[in-house]
Amino acid sequence: MTTITTVRIQSEPFVTAAEVAAITRGRTDAGAVVTFTGICRGDENGVPIASLTLEHYPGMAEAEIERHVAEAAARWPLIGVTVIHRFGRILPGDDIMMVVTVSSHRAAAFEAADFLMDYLKTRAPFWKQVEKTDGKIWVEAKATDDEAAGRWAAAGKHQAAE
């Protein structure tokens, strides 16, 4: 199956519904769409924040995400995958990133979106800095994210249920 893939790194906001429509418009084989949107919370570990600033490694961010999108397309029967990740200053309540997976059946779409999120968290070169009232601090990586990514390596190729 040829998978329609789109990866964009941008500072501008995105519209998830438009990204879904760009894949599914005019098709009758897309039976399942899963979207994940990461949103900027108004607090970091219970402390209110004014904003979030995302730094990234241009070139590597695109390449790393594209590599995992290609891996997802090889592991699951996907009609389309779109990943958009923003950089720059983001305010609480605003979208940070999104993943859309489209398949004929839901299991592949759910699993591929979950897989992509786990890898984006641990392998895509982005760093979050939060601005609090008393200064700016870098967000620390979570061990639970590494564990979540590790389970896909152990699972091998998935056979999505129809």
Binding site: Y57, M60, E64, M117, L120, T122, P125, F126, W127, W138
Partner: protein
């Protein structure tokens, strides 16, 4: 060996610059050795690389391990664990 180095997030802040061109001695052959060599270049570098286990590296925009050889590399980047998504 001439290399372009790039730094991100708090590694960049501690060193005080986003990138630089360096001429690395021939005795430095791996990513881990490069970190040790950089750490010896001054207080700001020592601060950035004081706990090399947490620093991640990429050669020409691909993740690598400390034991990876730097021969043939054009651009090597150092950064903290990633926190995107």
């Amino acid at each position: 060996m001439k290399l372009k180095l790039r730094y991100f997030a708090w590694v960049r802040e501690r060193i005080g610059k986003p990138d630089e061109d360096v001429d690395v001695p021939d005795t430095v052959t791996t990513v881990g050795e490069l970190m040790s060599w950089l750490a010896s270049r001054g207080e700001e570098y020592a601060h950035a690389f004081q706990n090399p286990k947490v620093i991640r590296a990429a050669i020409d925009r691909t993740h690598v391990k400390p034991q990876t050889a730097i021969a043939g590399a054009g651009e090597i980047a150092f950064f903290p664990p990633m926190t995107g998504g």
